[in-house]
Symmetry: C2
Subunit: 171 residues, 2 copies
Amino acid sequence: MKYGVAIFPSKTLQDKANSYRKRYDPHYALIPPHITLKGPFEASDSEIKTISEKLEQIALDCKPFTLNVLKVSSFKPANNTIYFKLELTPEIERLHHALNSKDFFEDKSEYAFVPHITIGQKLSNDEHSDVFGQLAMVDVAHEEQVDRIHLLYQLENGSWTVYDTFTLGEE
Amino acid sequence: MKYGVAIFPSKTLQDKANSYRKRYDPHYALIPPHITLKGPFEASDSEIKTISEKLEQIALDCKPFTLNVLKVSSFKPANNTIYFKLELTPEIERLHHALNSKDFFEDKSEYAFVPHITIGQKLSNDEHSDVFGQLAMVDVAHEEQVDRIHLLYQLENGSWTVYDTFTLGEE
């Protein structure tokens, strides 16, 4: 089974992201707007208990933190994904690190962690220039508190279901 | 903001439900397959803390229980919804009662609680006869354990995001 760990931002920020995702993100219907903390990883059904306990400990060791949306950015030339760029604070970096270390299904990705909320992906080059050209100018500055993370698993149709929720800094 | 409380069954059962929902349920993309324990209710953003605490207490007072899928059934003539009918056990009835009592956003619905997983809705009468005629014969018998419930809120596009998860019978 495929699992992942994510933050769902506030309704306000999700609604804003969805206003773009609706048009530009083919994953629009598969998962609400989110910040991926740990990309898809394989684990058996029987491992889920251990994963949950581990996540509870990681969440407990972190504190609620401020999320800052900075601007609309793009991963081009790596790919044509357009996203809300978030401030890389020590808190979110620490959380990401704990979730991808060798103690927890190590992620050996060669990419640096760029915290973001995807608003468009799998665009053609022309679409990308067009959409990014318009959105790069939009003021999306926004600040909110994050106090929880979610463990999700993927269904056969590609959509994601929440299995558990962990509050940061709380038993 | 609109909130609701639901159970997400296992991946196996969700995949089975989705194989029908994909074709027959226009809410397919808005929420994963679920059992509604408390239908949409309005609460302000500031009430969410109190709601969460209340739900934690309700979950704590309940124990994990067995979910039994009995057969495919329909709400016709009330409406054209087709669903997996679940056994009305004392445990799920108690949970539903606690979540809809006058202590917790009382639901004065005149309908009796019929625990179910919707697999088709908003069908025309002809579609309903057709689809229900086929599905009523399908053996969907299935049993699994339920040990958690989720509090969700609705986004502007009609989709639902999980806010919190509560484990039954556990602090």
